[in-house]
Amino acid sequence: MTMQNKPVTSASEPTAFKFEWSMISRHGGVVALIAILLFNILITPNFLHPQTLFVNISQVATIAIVAVGMTLVIATGGIDLSVGAIMALSGALAPLIFTSPFAEANPELGLALSIVVPILVALACGVFNGALVSLLNVQPIVATLIFFISGRGIALVLTNGNLQTFTNPAFSYLGTGKILGFPFQGYLVLIIAACVWWVMAFTVFGRQLLAVGGNERAAELSGVPVKRVKIGAYVICAGLSGLAGLIVVAINSASDAARIGNLMELDAIAAAVVGGTLLQGGRAPIFGAILGAVIIQLVKYTLLANGVADEVALIAKAGIIVLAVYVQQARKE
């Protein structure tokens, strides 16, 4: 419909064509998901095997968790490029802590610390990002670019650039544990999504966050603590990234600060947007973000499992992102 449309953004143009589209576009994400599933069932060998579900759940978890945080940041009208670096930082810290002599002496306390401390550090990074954005008025892309560059550097300095490998079954449960046959991370994602959704739908904080994204000045003049709300969004996003970093390390039984969370920011942003988040802010479809993450994961899986060469896969992925967002766009007005 937009093909021959003139450059009018505020106008909505209900035409016959759009009407037919509305069914599909209202649920663009779901339609895309079903299409990919159908394709896989027909083409990909052994797709209906339970192990496939298992593999996909465990792989999607980190993207999904970060995407939820990213959705909140985007809802305030911001963006967070530092998620990958924060993952690396928290991922580097955990083994440093539980392989330290202190933790070896007190295994339980060590284990607890190795989860709590990295997440606290991640939260602190979020405070830094949020403070830059809200107190110093630095533009979010650039504010988070600072940690994007140096966060990973800090992680590498801490570990001297070394790969840290370890055997610690209790810690690895984060990444490899199973409940009722499904990966532990899968449950974690659902719990996090449900909590954040609840916060956004029912709490004052959620409402204020959306107001800040929708019209910051109006929010401020209505007494919304804009700065605090924004910092809150970055802190949550950073905390979730920290958790995702721990999960990656737990699955691999190794922490490679140079690699953890590489390019995660792009996946997370794409997931959020495919899930219906508007980059201008003011909207936070949490389950949409999960859906977006699942779609992105399935695209990856499909291309890999069918032996599509990496370079061609890149092109295919590009096409699918464009298509998925295009279908989403149609429903916007």
């Binding site: 003139k6 450059p7 009018v8 505020s10 106008a11 909505s12 143009e13 209900p14 029912f202 709490t203 004052v204 904080f205 409402r207 204020q208 959306l210 107001a211 929708g214 019209n215 000045r217 109006a218 929010a219 401020e220 003049l221 209505s222 007494g223 919304v224 603590p225 003011g282 909207r283 007005e333």
Partner: protein, 508 residues
């Protein structure tokens, strides 16, 4: 005679909501034509269809007798239609010159922009409106009124056959309006037609030839203005009996001057970085204090300072309701102060959010129940205000951006009334509001004032100020220069007070 513009049978709906169902409009060359109608009647939508911002669902548009091919604002301009849209369509970040000249910049021989000529020409155009400003400065650094004048100047400078002004006078005070009317008369003399949309019926009698009346998306009449009465226009516009309306009176702000109660706050010699020099002002329970003055005299600045948006440089505000000073809007709100901004679009509404969410935005801390929003109380409250303020909406979940300007204003007013504040600062509360709704809004304010609310009222409409305010503080150039007291203020005396001091200032 050939019609300049001929629109008939226009239909338009937005995502199922009907905005226009059978609208028509006929404009003759060189006439000044008005459209009136309640908020949401479809006036702006009709002209946006004419200028190609929206596409019509059905109907016919002819320009000079030929079917119109206009499908973008640019094509409308090329077809000789210059428009000042209701929500100012300017680019605040760019300079005044750019905003006036954009798209029609003078060129040098090399084909590049000739900035010198551009600035000079802009200065010249603005001078016609009595504005002498630095044309290189960012437009956004000037007040809404100046921006509105710049928009008008731009439109007028385009050499059109038809200039459309959608509520162009909403931010202007009498003096500017006079200048504008002068320009309109000049245009008329040059054979340029003007389409004039306004909620100020008095204005229509001064300059318009004919008027088109719209109600609920339909054109319900077209009159020669000289042959109508104000009451007749209103009754046609509202679709109600003339007697009924007459009984209600024209402004709703006036009331008995009651004994003012205890003092709410006292501001002494306050000044801010933004240009406030020395303003003193007290407010007591149950009174309306008006701020009078010309554009840029510092009325909005005073409001900002009282609401904690600008930090005080000197002087102090003593708040008698709560102690302590106010540094942020949030603190002001919790101290019982509300502020209805004059810039609805930029500082008021959160466009994507629903009427409900917009209305309760400031109230959220009070609706909090263990971190959660108390949805039951919220819904009740919103329902109550929608009914009591007569807000025209398809439901409380409708996004506020889909409401007409006047209805948005009512939602914002409800945002503050719901807080049950002690002090309410109203900056142009009835701007862009139709006569019916204006009366309602004014009555509501009066009702709250009678119950003890203290109001600081800023209005460019002297009538509103004179009838409504118990006292008027007259401001000039950031100083409060005199105070008038009701009863006894007339529009003439107010104008005299402002002008007297102004003239004195200009000479001195």
């Amino acid at each position: 005679m050939q019609h300049l513009i001929e629109m008939s049978g226009i239909k338009k709906s937005f995502a199922g909501v009907v905005a226009l169902q059978n609208a028509s409009l006929h404009i003759e060359p060189g006439e000044v034509h008005a459209i009136i109608g309640q908020n949401g009647a479809g006036k702006s939508t009709l002209i946006k269809i004419l200028t190609g911002v929206y596409r019509r669902d059905a109907g016919e548009v002819k320009i000079n007798g030929n079917p119109s091919t206009v499908s973008t604002p640019r094509e409308a301009q090329d077809a000789g239609i210059a428009t000042i849209y209701q929500e100012l369509s300017l680019v605040p970040l760019r300079s005044v010159t750019e905003n006036v000249m954009m798209g029609y910049e003078p060129r040098t021989r090399l084909g590049t922009i000739d900035w010198k000529t551009a600035h000079a020409r802009t200065r010249e155009i603005l001078e016609r409106f009595g504005i002498h400003i630095d044309v290189r400065a960012q437009l956004g650094s000037y007040s809404t009124a100046i921006q509105q004048l710049v928009a008008i100047a731009r439109a007028v400078s385009l050499n059109a056959q038809l200039v459309i002004m959608d509520e162009a006078t909403s931010s202007l005070d009498d003096q500017e309006i006079e200048i504008l009317f002068g320009v309109v008369r000049e245009l008329k003399k040059e054979g340029v037609a003007v389409l004039y949309i306004s909620h100020f019926l008095d204005e229509l009698y001064q300059i318009c030839d004919r008027v088109t009346i719209m109600r609920d998306g339909q054109t319900v009449g077209q009159r020669v203005i000289a042959e109508t009465t104000k009451l007749g226009l209103i009754s046609e516009m509202l679709g109600r009996d003339p007697e009924e309306i007459e009984a209600a009176g024209m402004t709703g702000l006036g009331g008995e001057t009651t004994e003012p109660g205890r003092p709410l706050f006292e501001a002494k010699d306050i000044s801010t970085k933004r240009g406030l020099k020395s303003v003193s002002l007290t407010l007591r329970e149950g009174e309306i204090v008006g701020l009078g003055g010309l554009l840029g005299s510092g009325r909005t600045e005073t409001a900002r300072a009282l609401f904690g948006m600008d930090t005080l440089r000197s002087g102090g505000i003593q708040n008698h309701v709560v102690g302590g000073n106010i540094r942020t809007p949030a603190e002001a709100i919790s101290a019982g102060i509300g502020f209805l901004t004059e810039d609805r679009k930029r500082e008021g509404i959160v466009p994507h959010m629903s009427v409900r969410e917009n209305m309760t935005l400031a109230l959220l801390p009070k609706l909090k129940k263990m971190g959660r929003v108390d949805r039951k109380r919220e819904t009740e409250l919103v329902e109550r205000f929608i009914t009591s303020l007569g807000i025209k909406t398809s439901g409380m979940e409708q996004p506020i951006r889909e409401l007409s300007g006047g209805n948005q204003q009512k939602v914002l007013l409800a945002r503050w009334l719901a807080l049950e504040p002690d002090v309410l600062i109203l900056d142009e509360p009835t701007r862009g509001v139709d006569v019916g709704a204006k009366f309602e809004i004014q009555s509501i304010i009066r009702e709250y004032v009678d119950k003890g609310l203290g109001v600081v009222l800023i209005s460019s409409e002297f009538e509103e100020l004179v009838e409504g305010a118990d006292r008027i503080i007259v401001l000039r150039d950031g100083y409060s220069i005199t105070e008038l007291e009701n009863p006894g203020i007339t529009e003439e005396s107010l104008i005299a007070a402002i002008a007297h001091h102004h003239d004195e200032g200009a000479r001195g």
